[in-house]
Subunit: 117 residues, 3 copies
């Protein structure tokens, strides 16, 4: 079994850990809180994609996505961004629940587990 | 490392992905929202079981279950259904928190990770 | 693929399952609800650590940590405990959201996935 590889390790958390062909991402959150739910979702999904590329994978290899919405009325707006981002034929299992997030300006947080190709 | 297998792939999400001997299910939610928490839990757990069977596994191989309850006062009723469903000697790790779900009629959503035998 | 090993199996859940080099812990919650968030977090993280040791791993091998806070105003206090507990250079990916927990006395619940060395 290979050792654990960590991406962007910091004193509090790292952005990803890779072990046994599986990639675990930290909860990804928006930086531009002035954006609406569609814009925040696109930004967060772009962060997910860049981390997966950095790990040597891509968004067609997502195994599971857990989405947290600060307000469930954003569900349709989130899906608008999600549907244009997800890879046709490789849409992963998903779960979406409402939860208050650490920063009141964040409307979405996404946790992803993915596979190395 | 084998490729990713997806069950019931759709344009937005699939019901399961299978990779490296591990099965990730999408959040399972009830279809019959007229039922009480015990009935909704049993329906959702039956969905979990059918997906695991379809993946070539079964409910004795669950590695972790994350339960979301729309109202924590349903905790006892959920457990009544859970306790009669879970396989004696193979009860998995579990976490249960309250979270508002995407449909106000849903009282429970269950996310499962399981192993192939 | 080896069979699933379960730690502290009970009729409702077990504290951990181990499969294919990966350890899944049940949601860990405090027993001493008289403590403040820092004390509850330290107790819960100590539980995590003891289960990982029992599984043959340790806290430097955490792959992902999902934290639930009953009240997001406890975020800074949780981090105070987290920052002194986490292993320098091995801080795992993490996600923290607010969620009401099963016992109103619990201020935190932690779900961990880790690797065997």
């Amino acid at each position: 079994m290979p050792a654990i590889l960590r991406l962007h390790p910091g004193p509090r958390y790292s952005e990803a850990s890779i072990h046994a062909g599986t990639i675990y991402l930290a909860g990804q959150v928006p930086t531009d809180t002035a954006q609406d739910i569609e814009g925040q979702t696109l930004e967060v999904l772009d962060m997910v994609e860049r981390l997966l590329l950095e790990a040597g994978s891509d968004k067609s290899h997502i195994l599971m996505a857990q989405l947290y919405l600060a307000d469930m009325t954003d569900y349709a707006g989130m899906n608008k961004a999600w549907d244009q981002w997800v890879v046709a034929g490789s849409a992963p299992p998903r779960a979406t629940v409402q939860a208050q997030l650490a920063d009141p300006g964040w409307r979405i947080e996404v946790v992803v587990v993915a596979a190395l190709p």
